[in-house]
């Protein structure tokens, strides 16, 4: 039986706190035990309840957040791809390049040529530009 009512709202609110932590501290090695502690949910249930609330696993949420931040940095700074890869929390350039290409549909160096992004309050920019595809190229 899924949790309903006040208990579910309370759990959602705590899961939102863990998701906010990923949006804020995406560059840190946020693992399931750390996130589950923030949400006050047992490690065993965290992935499942997070997915039920937000439609994807915490790991995917964090990876897409990191990719979004990389997309922003590629277009808004002249830092190297390697530096940006490390800045957003990836520890290997190979993994970063593969995930980026899977999610965005083109490699970082090519994506960078799109030039600077328009300006919006960062929370809105981050909420709306986190890519929703994963492992496939988005239809354009």
């Amino acid at each position: 039986m899924p949790v309903v009512g006040a208990a579910a709202e309370d759990a959602n609110r705590r899961l939102l706190r863990a998701r906010d932590a990923m949006d804020r501290a995406y560059a840190e090695p946020l693992d399931v035990p750390t996130l589950a502690r923030i949400a006050h949910i047992s490690e065993a249930h965290f992935i499942c309840t997070f997915r039920a609330a937000f439609g994807e696993t915490p790991n995917r949420y964090l990876q897409r957040r990191r990719v979004e931040r990389a997309m922003f940095l590629l277009r808004s700074t002249d830092r190297s791809v390697t530096d940006i890869c490390m800045d957003v929390g990836f520890s290997s350039l190979g993994t970063f390049s593969r995930v980026f290409r899977d999610v965005v549909g083109e490699p970082p160096s090519l994506y960078r040529r799109r030039g600077p992004m328009p300006l919006a309050p960062s929370c809105f920019a981050m909420a709306w530009s986190r890519p929703s595809s994963f492992g496939e190229v988005r239809g354009t």
Binding site: V4, D20, L119, P121, C123
Partner: protein, 145 residues
């Protein structure tokens, strides 16, 4: 710049509404922590009309509305509360302040849930927080000119 093709009819935004599942808890937060004043708190039987405004700004109020019957069914109210708890009910409020770092430090000391630390943006310095229910709030020290 977008130029309106009609003569302006509307002169001000006076009340903005957000949903809060618990109005007393909302007062603790919006009055007790953010520094709003209660503008009106009226009992209309099934509905409590509760508005707050910032000191010195009586012409711009925020309506703190509790979702529930008879305005909507219990089932719909549960859906609205669920959306609030996931941060997607649309209750966004944007504020200005004179000193973002000082305001941030004061709110943090009051135990407010900060979602984003102050960031120097091209338009100013701003940071993010949530109310106790999940509504999103942003506070900015805007650049002059």
């Amino acid at each position: 710049m977008i130029v309106s093709s009609v003569v302006p009819m509307l002169t001000a935004i006076t009340i903005t509404q957000i949903y809060v599942p618990d109005q007393d808890q909302a007062l603790d937060f919006y009055v007790g922590k953010l520094g709003f004043e209660v503008q009106s708190d009226m009992d209309f039987g099934p509905m409590r009309w509760l508005t707050v405004n910032l000191p010195g700004q009586p012409d711009r109020a925020v309506l703190l509305e509790k979702p529930g019957p008879p305005s909507m069914s219990d089932e719909t109210a549960a859906q609205v509360r669920e959306a609030i708890s996931k941060g997607v009910a649309g209750g966004h409020l944007f504020f200005a302040c004179d000193d973002a770092y000082k305001t941030h430090a004061e709110l943090r000391a009051k135990g407010v849930e900060i979602t984003e630390e102050p960031v120097d943006q091209p338009y100013g310095i701003d940071f993010g927080l949530r109310d106790p229910f999940g509504n999103h709030i942003r506070i900015a020290q805007m650049k002059q000119g």
